[in-house]
């Protein structure tokens, strides 16, 4: 036990002390928003820069006269379609639209010609425009009163409420989806990142040849366990730093917004913190009300703790396997051949997550969140929607059992592998190592 602790300390301290750890911890929360901001910037800049494109319209029906806007300049032409096509080919026009004679009830035969494949949104924009024009014509033709039509528009918002063991609380599918997506995806990425670090560490010990000195003092299993746990603690340290940073940013944002926006900002801030006064003002919009209540109804502490549990469990389960792969090879490039069986279940669980988010109560969701290989990622996806307690407990117990099992299997491969230098390894050899009596 004492020696596991010594290994644990070395793994933890040597990593946390590194400059790269500090940089990654501080930069990661900045880099992703920066990348997204950069992309948004380019999209916006593109939109601003874009010139009005010329769209030729050959309208044989004489009914469609779309108005030019900032994006498209419509030029109406007459004559034969073939001639128009030829002219279009030689021109620099953006598109050519052909509208034949059509009946209001069943408009068809509209054509869109362009040099490149148009994007989905371009096509649907034009379609929507034409639909609106035809709708206007229909309103006229059928003599529908516009005012009556406006009154027919109805908006119904369902306030969704969970009736669970914990009592009555508001829920929001959107927020549950967001939590599930973020949590599941984060665990997926972290398993790969920290699993990779474990593998790297084992390969380093093996290739620097220090491992034989170490295993003369520590059982290989203790070395593996100390390493895996030490690196996990590096990860958890990183989360805690992020949590603190996030709270600081949150606080700063509220303070800065509050000062800049005056009363409105304060109200928003109040609403965020859930005070009744703030909610009353915004209460006129049931959607905002619903989201606010839903956020207030989420037990972030519980989700946070479960996140750490599932990260830890999933990481231990896969981390041990990554360690076994590291022990089997002499260099990272050789590791590739053994990565396949590890990456397949992780990637399968991220695909599973997308299905589960669509239908969190399906039997697929149940099984994927129970099986230890996929439960860390998939259960995060279900948490926001509410999971029956017994399912959660079953999943957690199986995950604990699962990582004990993989650590045992990996340990048997690891103890032989770390002492093998330069031997050619395949799956048959791994099986033999597993069976070897030391």
């Amino acid at each position: 036990m004492n020696r596991i602790w010594t290994v644990f300390q070395r793994e933890y301290i040597s990593r946390v002390k590194k400059k790269s750890f500090l940089l990654a911890t501080i930069l990661t929360p900045l880099v992703f928003p920066a990348i997204i901001a950069g992309m948004v910037y380019f999209v916006v800049a593109d939109k601003k820069k874009s010139q009005q494109e010329v769209v030729k319209v050959l309208d044989e029906s004489g009914k469609i006269r779309p108005e030019s806007n900032s994006k498209y300049l419509y030029e109406f032409i007459e004559g034969d379609l073939e001639e128009a096509k030829t002219a279009f080919r030689e021109s620099k026009d953006f598109a050519l639209i052909y509208i034949p004679e059509f009946t209001l009830e069943k408009p068809d035969g509209f054509m869109y010609y362009s040099r490149q494949n148009p994007s989905l949104s371009t096509v649907s924009d034009f379609e929507k425009d034409f639909e609106n024009i035809i709708r206007e014509i229909k309103l006229e033709t059928y003599q529908v009163d516009r005012e009556v039509l406006e009154k027919l528009k109805t908006s119904v918002v369902l306030r969704t409420v969970n009736l669970s063991d914990e009592g009555e609380k508001e829920s929001s599918a959107g927020i549950a989806y967001g939590i599930g997506y973020a949590g599941g995806f984060l665990i997926y990425i972290l398993i790969f990142v920290y699993g990779g670090i474990v593998m790297q560490g084992v390969i380093e010990e093996k290739s620097s040849k220090i491992v034989e000195i170490i295993v003369s003092s520590v059982r290989p299993f203790q070395l593996m366990l100390g390493k895996v746990l030490g690196i996990a603690s590096v990860g958890i340290t990183q989360f805690l730093i992020w949590a603190v940073l996030l709270n600081i940013f949150w606080f700063l944002a509220i303070v800065v917004l509050g000062v800049n926006l005056g009363d409105g900002g304060m109200e928003a801030a109040n609403a965020m913190s859930g005070s009744q006064e703030g909610l009353d003002d915004l209460g006129s919009d049931p959607r905002v009300m619903n989201i606010m209540n839903a956020i207030a109804g989420i037990n972030f502490l519980k989700i946070g703790l479960l996140f750490i549990f599932y990260f830890f469990g999933g990481y231990l389960l896969y981390g041990a396997l990554f360690a076994a792969v590291g022990a089997a090879v002499d260099s990272p490039s050789e590791a590739q051949q053994f990565m396949f069986p590890i990456t397949i279940p992780i990637i399968a669980s991220i695909f599973g997550l997308f299905f589960v988010l669509e239908d969190p109560n399906s039997s697929l969701a149940f099984w994927l969140s129970i099986i230890p290989l996929s439960s860390p990622v998939v259960m995060m996806g279900r948490l926001g929607f509410g999971v029956p307690t017994w399912e959660l407990i079953l999943s957690m117990v199986l995950l604990v059992g699962g990582f004990f099992f993989t650590i045992w299997v990996a340990g048997r491969i690891y103890r032989v592998g770390i002492l093998m230098q330069g031997s050619k390894v395949n799956y048959k050899v791994l099986a033999k190592w597993f069976m070897t009596k030391m």
């Binding site: 004492n2 020696r3 010594t6 290994v7 070395r10 040597s14 380093e204 010990e205 620097s208 040849k209 220090i210 034989e212 000195i213 170490i214 295993v215 003369s216 003092s217 520590v218 059982r219 002492l419 230098q421 033999k432 070897t436 009596k437 030391m438």
Partner: protein
């Protein structure tokens, strides 16, 4: 005689071959035992078993009278053949880590490490990273890591492979000093001639079996071949009965000839001298003792190299 290590009937099979076949070795306390044999003879397997890295299929080991158990790793200092250090770690931190794995408390470990660093004149290296050290410097650190916790039994696997001559001499002197201070030393090598002068005891292992064991001087006299080498100014033509010339080599110094002669049991070398001093001036006369390598070849029947 107190035994530092007693291995009884150790057998270890791997899937395709037997690494050790009923091997028994006794190491008296306070001596240097050379475990000699060609590559693949089973030396490293034996050493790994003593270090409890692997377990024997059969047999038992006692260390200073106690049955070998995990707590005994504190008594052993081990320098493996495949040795290295964490490249990115500082020398001091690294030694501290290894000392703590051997069960030393941090405070005590620091004192011991400082002592050894001073002894090897590397006291300024505590904050150096291993990757910045030369190979010779790293070797010193590896040796310190083997002996810093005052082990009663020091196991060195091919200690001189890869060491430069200066370090090799330093380590050799250190090994002798440690022995004189009461440590027991087991070292293995396949280069028998290079270390035979260091050993008190020898175990010769070949194809998983012990071929020869005992005190070095006793073994050498047992395999004495009664061969003598004479350096002289003139060619030797006459010898007393029972002696024959087996080889003649011309030389270019004061001595012009080197003559190898072979006698037998019970014949006196003084007779030889009396005969030859009449015809030539004898520059030197010595008995040619067999090297361990010669003995090995005479036993195994083949040259292993």
């Amino acid at each position: 005689m107190e035994l530092a290590l007693e291995a009884k009937n150790i057998t270890k099979h791997y899937t395709k071959h037997t690494a050790l076949d009923d091997v028994s070795i006794q190491i008296p306390k306070g001596c240097i035992l050379g475990l000699l044999g060609p590559n693949g003879a089973g030396k490293t397997t034996f050493i790994r078993i003593v270090n409890q890295i692997i377990n024997p299929d059969l047999g038992a080991i006692r260390i200073f009278g106690e049955s070998l158990a995990p707590k005994h790793i504190e008594w052993i200092g081990y320098l493996p053949e495949e040795r290295g250090l964490y490249k990115k770690m500082k020398v001091g931190d690294q030694l501290l880590f290894l000392a703590r794995l051997k069960g030393l408390p941090s405070k005590e470990a620091k004192v011991k490490i400082k002592y050894w660093m001073e002894r090897f004149e590397v006291q300024g290296w505590w904050h150096k990273k291993v990757e910045d050290l030369s190979k010779g410097m790293a070797q010193k650190i590896q040796f310190i890591s083997t002996v810093m916790h005052d082990p009663k039994l020091i196991i060195l696997d091919e200690p001189f492979s890869g060491f430069d001559p200066i370090n090799a001499n330093l380590i050799r002197d250190e090994i002798l000093r440690l022995r004189d201070n009461g440590a027991t030393i087991l070292f293995s090598t396949h280069r028998m001639e290079s270390v035979e002068e260091l050993c008190d005891q020898i175990v010769l292992i070949h194809q998983s079996k012990i071929m020869l064991e005992g005190e070095k001087t006793e073994i050498k006299s047992r395999y004495r071949s009664h061969t003598y080498v004479i350096e002289s100014t003139d060619k030797i033509s006459k010898l007393p009965g029972g002696f024959e010339i087996i080889k003649e080599v011309p030389l270019n110094g004061i001595a012009q000839f080197e003559t190898h002669i072979k006698g037998g049991e019970g014949v006196s070398t003084n007779e030889v001298l009396q005969t030859i001093i009449k015809e030539t001036e004898v520059i030197s006369f010595r008995e040619k003792l067999p090297t361990i390598n010669d003995i090995f070849i005479s036993i195994a029947g083949t040259n292993h190299e």
